[in-house]
């Protein structure tokens, strides 16, 4: 796929983030979509493509009054929106649609109008994982970590640094849910959830949404917003069962999606000014930094503890505070994308001066799927 031929021209989150008791899930999608259309001066009649996850694109098209010539309902967890961006870029390049809206909304905290989360007992996960007592991501996503820690001699104190550093970024974001500074001791003294994971090593549970509008780079010049070009994209999948990951110290889906995006973008790691790695739990930035090739295996924890990803560091990571401190509705990928777009537009609350290239990496399910998007503000 040729790069730099498609751009994000509209981007917005829901008007509120956090606890939103007055909107159902589809209402959060719509609130974000209307904000994104307002961001770039479009109306529903101007949108001819729609993608969403956890709701069908049919629901959203109807609810928003859109008549699409292209729809994508890829729903593979929190990285679905990275994958929508990838598919949308291909669709625009091949002429299937001109202006594509990608929406996310999730009443993760208030649970208003959400489809029920359940694992069918006849599914493979229902037969071969659920009987052994897991309850959602905190007890599943975390299972590989003891193996990672033993393999590379990484300590829980080092992993706790991920939480401490991201809280420093969150403190700079007025919309972040948690902004007060925390120490390593705060993390290690917080309530045990699933050993070795304590409460502050697990993501927030909040309500919110976000939306993106993409069009061709050529048309993007006519919009009021600063175009954010799609430089490279990647996607992959591994397994719906965390117990069946090939390697507990590395995600195959990451190792496919990340390098695919880098190759397409034609950039090297040193070219990256800003990085988002979906952090549902504190270990994910470690896996992401290593599987995307920023660091050799086993070195990410020391890299973060060495403040290289902290404010003022060489590789600013999760500058909104991440799923650990900014917000996490359940499918966090859209918020990571929003922060990359803000950074590349130059309007982020914790703006990286002169940021030109942002890598945004998402995970779906528990290491089940992955999507990577590389953004740039350099015109083609």
């Amino acid at each position: 796929m040729p790069h730099n031929t498609v751009a994000v021209v509209g981007a917005a989150e829901t008007t509120k983030l956090g606890v939103i008791p007055d909107l159902s899930q589809i209402g959060l999608h719509a609130d974000a979509a209307i904000n994104a259309m307002a961001d770039c001066g479009l109306k529903p009649k101007d949108i001819d493509g729609i993608a969403t996850a956890n709701e069908t694109p049919v629901q959203l098209a109807h609810y928003l009054g859109i008549t699409p010539t292209w729809i994508d309902g890829t729903s593979v967890g929190g990285c679905s929106f990275m994958i929508h961006v990838r598919h949308a870029a291909a669709a625009i390049e091949s002429g299937l649609a001109k202006t594509i809206l990608i929406t996310h909304g999730e009443s993760g905290k208030s649970r208003i109008g959400n489809p029920p989360r359940s694992v069918p007992p006849s599914s493979l996960a229902g037969q071969f994982e659920q009987p052994f007592g897991p309850m959602g991501p905190p007890s599943m996503f975390t299972i590989p970590v003891l193996r990672y820690m033993k393999t590379y001699g990484v300590t829980v104190e080092q992993i706790a640094q991920v939480c401490v550093v991201q809280r420093e970024w969150a403190a700079k974001n007025p919309r972040a849910t948690f902004r007060n500074p925390i120490t390593t001791d705060d993390v290690l003294n917080s309530r045990m959830i699933a050993y070795p994971f304590r409460l502050l090593m697990c993501c927030l549970v909040t309500d919110g949404g976000g939306a993106l509008i993409l069009t061709s780079a050529e048309r993007a010049r006519d919009f009021p917003t600063k175009p954010v070009y799609i430089l490279g994209t990647g996607e992959s999948a591994e397994t719906p069962m965390v117990s069946q990951m090939e390697d507990f110290t590395s995600s195959r889906a990451f190792r496919v999606a990340g390098p695919t995006a880098f190759k397409e973008a034609g950039i090297a790691h040193k070219d990256v000014d800003h990085l988002m790695i979906y952090d549902a739990f504190a270990h994910l930035p470690l896996y992401g930094l290593e599987d995307l090739g920023f660091l050799p295996k086993g070195e990410a924890a020391a890299f973060i503890a060495g403040r290289n990803t902290a404010p003022g560091g060489s590789l600013p990571l999760n500058t909104n505070g991440g799923g650990l401190s900014y917000m996490h509705s359940g499918m966090y990928g859209m918020y990571a994308l929003q922060e990359s777009v803000r950074q590349i537009r130059g309007v982020a609350p914790a703006q990286i001066p002169g940021a030109k290239i942002s890598v945004c990496h998402g995970v779906g399910g528990m290491f089940a799927a992955s999507g990577t998007i590389i953004f740039s503000n350099q015109a083609p």
Binding site: F128, P131, F132, I143
Partner: protein, 136 residues
């Protein structure tokens, strides 16, 4: 640790042999007749080469503790804290399970320690394969 009320599997035609096996106190894997891959979870073809020529093979029941968490929240059928573990079978495949006859602590649950299968009936249809520290 185990009590009534935990989620139970609903076998499908492709997995029924596995659950018939545990009921008979046998841990059954599958092996590809063409490429020799031993695999889990069950499916009627080889996940490496897609051959439909596969055989059911009885596992030794020997494994090592590969990774785990100790869950501290209440789940029907479990008294926290309890470990949700993944073991690596001597034959290669890994599976999720619980570790029984063992303290549910980080000190007692040591990665790579040898474990062996035990079969715990849940009802008339379902017996779950659990693991305990290997004896001898």
């Amino acid at each position: 640790m185990a009590q009534a009320g935990r989620a139970l599997p609903q076998p499908t035609p492709e997995t029924q042999h596995f659950w018939d096996g545990t009921k008979a106190n046998e841990l059954l894997l599958q092996r590809c007749d063409d490429c020799a891959k031993v695999y889990f979870p069950p499916r009627p073809f080889c996940p490496v080469c897609a051959s439909r020529k596969v055989s059911v093979t009885k596992a030794s029941g020997r494994a090592k503790l590969f990774s785990y968490v100790i869950h501290h929240r209440a789940v029907p059928g479990f008294t926290p804290p309890y470990a949700i573990a993944v073991v690596e079978l001597a034959e290669g495949p890994r599976m999720m399970t619980n570790i029984v006859d063992c303290e549910q602590t980080a000190e007692a649950l040591v990665l790579d320690m040898p474990v062996e299968v035990v079969f715990q009936p849940q009802d008339d249809a379902i017996t779950l394969p659990l693991f305990r520290p290997a004896k001898g």
